[in-house]
């Protein structure tokens, strides 16, 4: 069991938790520090907070508490016959459980009770507001605190029900547990893999899971920053915020559709010719705009196959004014095959070659594989990326570039059993969909996403079981997730003496 880092909530988790805890949904996290990214996934697992961050937490907590407690009696659900002191005591206990995601101990009840009393001298509302503002900047709110104590430092120990409930809800919902999950934790139902599994199935069936599934896929494929993408206005005047948003939503909807409403298979994610072309995106695919953006549209299966041929992926992994076989190749290599690539040499001029009306991209990028200094790495990258040449920098299908026919032949190298030549990204996608390396990589990526850390050597047993369960279910991602949340790495952690 690898040491689990102390993590803070990510911005998304903060926003979602505030939404579910206070009913306020306006992205308060824009005012707290930006997230660290551990490999491809947001997780605040290394850098500690500084003075500015603590002040930001306090500022946001104060403002949120002020809004939430505008009608303090209602917010605290005081009963007509209940006196204010009794109501406040009940509020501290009930709200505290939800804010800290576990019951408060007697010291805490006393401490927050005293805080209420101090400020209730002015008014009941002031007392409630100060309790809420303080809890929202408490380490028990801000951190994922799954502390397990034991006399033996080397021991691993099981997380308790509330800790598991939080791990489960943040992994599958990116937010705090709901009332049912808290109840299951209180009843001890999460102590067994069966109990965890039952709750996990419920969570996956709930629409809140769409958020986590979208987050996973957008971060895994590097698409979470598509809204900051810049394209050359002269070449791609149609690329604007609404198109970028439509692209991002399509990939999110597609992943959710396959995993929660479809067959759940990794193969389907990487090969189904389905799109969700909303608004301006329909033109990119040359189809008519769909009446219901929630429903998938069948795309030309000779042109499209799953996540990697969607516009979000193709336009993100391209330059402002041209495609990028290098970027497309690297993301496949790194994020789908989990290969680590060395940096290019420090003194290399890695400006992409100028677009040239008389040459194809393949011709212009030939320098990479021609120059022996570059070829070592680029032979791992470019033959994959050049297979995407049927798509321009916005993801539109093309058979010609600058009047010359597109050559989209490629080769997947150093990819074990899935190595081999292919023609075009559709073939490549099918090849990757059946690749043992990609399957193992996807297991690792979900592990990193769900636990907010890299898998380490001591996690080998959990990873092995994960891969076995994934295979046994014919690479159904739902089975992978159920295996993950019932794995030792998920249920246990190193104890602290």
């Amino acid at each position: 069991m690898a040491e689990a880092p102390l993590r803070r909530l990510t911005r998304k988790q903060f926003d979602n938790t505030v939404r579910d805890l206070l009913g306020i949904a306006d992205e308060p996290s824009l005012r707290i520090p930006q997230d660290e990214k551990i490999s491809a996934f947001y997780s605040n697992a290394i850098a500690p907070v500084n003075r500015l961050a603590v002040e930001q937490f306090a500022d946001v907590a104060d403002d949120l508490a002020t809004v939430a407690t505008a009608d303090a009696q209602a917010f605290a659900s005081c009963q007509p016959a209940e006196d204010e002191v009794a109501c406040a005591a009940r509020f501290v206990e009930e709200f505290g459980l939800r804010a800290f995601r576990r019951p408060l101990d007697s010291d805490e009840l006393e401490r927050y009770g005293a805080l209420f009393t101090e400020y209730a001298a002015t008014s009941f509302a002031d007392g409630i507001r100060r309790v809420v503002a303080t809890m929202l900047q408490s380490p028990h709110f801000l951190y994922h605190l799954d502390i397990v104590q034991s006399a033996d430092e080397s021991a691993v120990a099981a997380l308790d029900g509330y800790q598991l409930a939080s791990r489960l809800s943040y992994a599958l919902w990116q937010t705090m547990p709901d009332a049912d999950l808290f109840a299951a934790a209180a009843a001890g139902e999460l102590a067994t893999p069966e109990g965890l599994r039952e709750q996990a199935e419920r969570l996956l069936a709930d629409d809140r899971a769409a958020d986590a599934i979208a987050s996973f896929h957008l971060q895994w494929l590097g698409l979470d920053t598509i809204l900051q993408l810049d394209k050359d206005d002269a070449l791609f005047p149609e690329f604007d915020a609404s198109l970028a948003e439509a692209m991002q939503r399509e990939t999110a909807r597609f992943a959710d559709h396959v995993i929660r409403r479809g067959d759940g298979k990794l193969t389907t994610l990487l090969s189904a010719p389905l799109g969700f072309p909303e608004g301006p995106l329909a033109e990119i695919y040359g189809v008519s705009a769909t009446a219901n953006p929630e429903e998938p549209v069948m795309l030309d299966p000779t042109q499209r196959a799953g996540l990697l041929t969607q516009a979000a992926f193709l336009s993100t992994h391209a330059h402002a004014d041209q495609t990028s076989p290098v970027r497309r190749g690297i993301v496949i290599r790194k994020n789908l095959l989990c290969t680590n690539l060395p940096d290019p040499p420090a003194d290399v001029d890695n400006t992409p070659p100028e677009p040239d009306p008389n040459a194809t991209t393949r011709q212009r990028f030939a320098a990479h594989t021609g120059d022996p200094a570059c070829a070592g790495c680029h032979q791992l990258i470019d033959p994959i990326g050049l297979g995407f040449e049927n798509y321009d920098a916005l993801g539109r299908f093309r058979v010609e570039e600058n009047g010359a026919p597109v050559d989209a032949s490629g080769e997947l190298t150093m990819a074990g059993a899935s190595s081999g030549a292919f023609n075009g990204a559709v073939e490549l996608a099918h090849q990757l969909a059946e690749s043992p390396e990609v399957r193992a990589c996807v297991s690792s990526q979900w592990f990193r996403f769900a636990l907010g850390r890299l898998e380490r050597e001591p996690d080998a047993c959990s990873m092995q079981r994960l891969n076995q369960d994934f295979a046994a279910a014919d690479y159904d991602v739902r089975a992978l997730l159920l295996s993950l949340v019932t794995s030792d790495a998920f249920r246990y952690r190193k104890a602290v003496p």
Binding site: I46, D62, E118, L145, H317, D343, D347, D349, T351
Partner: protein
């Protein structure tokens, strides 16, 4: 809910005045303490960063020693020429992992490499090795840790569009793996540092009391948690607790009420077009914070070294190519060199504007500029080859009489660790080497006389 547009001030922030001097003249210093600078010649340290080096030929002054002429890129600094020391021929020892832009930024002020724990990936789409946060603190924090601080804020970090929370975008570190993220919105920073003038004095006093109550609870919770968390993770709670204590101490002391700059109407600091305005407002706020004794140590990070990507300079009429790609154009591309020269000249203009602020504030026997050591550097020498040679360094201010200015000094490929040693020594921290990359010792020849 209205998070952003807090009430408009009775303090005249709506009026857009261009200079701090004007606002200082217009507004009395209020509150418990007078501006600290009037007590003595108190030395301040300011680190100033702009990305991607320069165009060396257009940056290099002519002449030598005290007889020199500024170059086209540095010409906006003409008004402060006698307060500058221009350092030509320093290089950064680019030891360690990470792509050039990524490692250059943290190397600049720490002279120590990134950790190799394979945690982060490049964020610019170009792939490359994973790496970790930086391995050691930056020079400003090293000095603070050696000498201590008596100001309400030991240091203040400011940034303008300074990127995400990633090693390539963080430059100031208090320790290994402990980057200090900068304030990036001058209006938020104003509310935090100078005072939220949308509130009455009573409201502000109450807010201080409330915050202390909350932080008391938070501090006791952090203390209780310390013993329950694994030893490898405890430093995170310690850092959190240190931050809480620092804020509590400040809240307990008499508030320093500064005459802040008039920032004008709130703008969105994330919109590229607002960059020039945001940059100058930040400079004014920074000068103001230094003037009234909120801190003696500050830094400015303009943009990111990792890759000033997706970023055009529309306000300079440069809309075609973004800075990073343009900086990669070969030396023979005269058009790109001309555009880049425009950008680097604009950097000088912004730096000059900041120096204007410092020079306009009386401090001790002279001005705030006389009592400051301002160090302007970049993460590279030039962009197209990721060259760590000829990194452009400019010092400004008299360092409270310790630095002879009005000079142009040339060196033959001397590593910038020497400069960092001089910075420490000028600030009163006597060291002979600086940073894990240091292969030499001592300061720069001829800099400190």
């Amino acid at each position: 809910m209205t998070f952003r547009g807090r009430g408009q001030p009775g303090f005249g922030r709506r009026a857009l005045l261009s200079g701090l001097a004007a606002s200082l003249g217009a507004l009395p210093l209020v509150g418990g303490r007078q501006a600290r600078g009037q007590e003595q010649n108190r030395l301040r340290l300011i680190l100033w960063f702009t990305p991607h080096g320069t165009i060396y030929d257009n940056w290099k002054p002519s002449g030598a020693g005290s007889e020199f002429e500024l170059s086209p890129i540095l010409s906006p600094l003409q008004g402060h020429k006698d307060k500058l020391v221009i350092l030509d021929g320093l290089h950064i020892n680019p030891e360690g992992v990470g792509a050039p832009h990524t490692k250059g930024s943290p190397l600049l002020w720490t002279a120590s490499p990134l950790l190799t724990d394979m945690t982060f990936e490049r964020t610019d789409g170009e792939g490359g090795f994973y790496h970790g946060w930086n391995s050691a603190p930056s020079v400003d924090q090293v000095i603070l840790q050696a000498l201590g601080s008596t100001t309400p804020y030991p240091s203040l970090e400011f940034g303008v569009r300074s990127g995400g929370n990633h090693p390539g975008t963080r430059m100031i570190y208090s320790a290994a793996e402990a980057p200090l993220a900068p304030e990036t919105d001058p209006w938020d920073a104003f509310d935090r540092l100078i005072g939220d003038f949308g509130k009455t004095e009573e409201e502000r006093a109450l807010q201080r009391v409330e915050r202390r109550s909350s932080l008391d609870v938070v501090a006791s919770e952090l203390e209780a948690l310390r013993g329950k968390i694994g030893s490898s993770e405890r430093h995170k709670l310690d850092a959190h607790l240190t931050a809480v204590r620092e804020i509590e101490q400040r809240l307990e002391a008499d508030p320093i009420l500064c005459a802040g700059p008039m920032l004008g109407d709130r703008g969105d600091s994330n919109v590229p077009e607002n960059t020039p305005v945001v940059f100058d407002r930040m400079s004014e706020l920074m000068a103001s914070s230094l003037a009234c004794g909120l801190t003696d140590v500050a830094s400015m990070q303009y943009r990111v070294g990792e890759n000033d990507g997706g970023y055009t300079y529309d306000w300079l009429g440069i809309t075609s190519l973004e800075h990073h790609l343009m900086s990669h154009e070969g030396d023979s591309n005269e058009a790109a060199r001309a555009e880049l020269t425009k950008i680097y000249t604009w950097y000088s203009e912004r730096f000059a504007y900041f120096l204007d602020q410092l020079a306009a504030i009386p401090d001790g026997d002279g001005t705030l500029l006389d009592n400051s050591l301002v160090v302007w550097g970049s993460e590279l020498g030039k962009g197209n080859t990721h060259d760590f040679e000829h990194v452009p360094f400019v010092l400004a201010g008299g360092a409270a009489g310790k630095l002879v200015t009005g000079r142009y000094l040339t060196y033959g490929a001397v590593e910038h660790n020497r400069l960092l040693v001089d910075i420490c020594r000028l600030m009163g921290h006597d060291v002979d080497t600086f940073g894990h990359t240091d292969v030499g010792h001592g300061g720069l020849k001829g800099l400190v006389l």
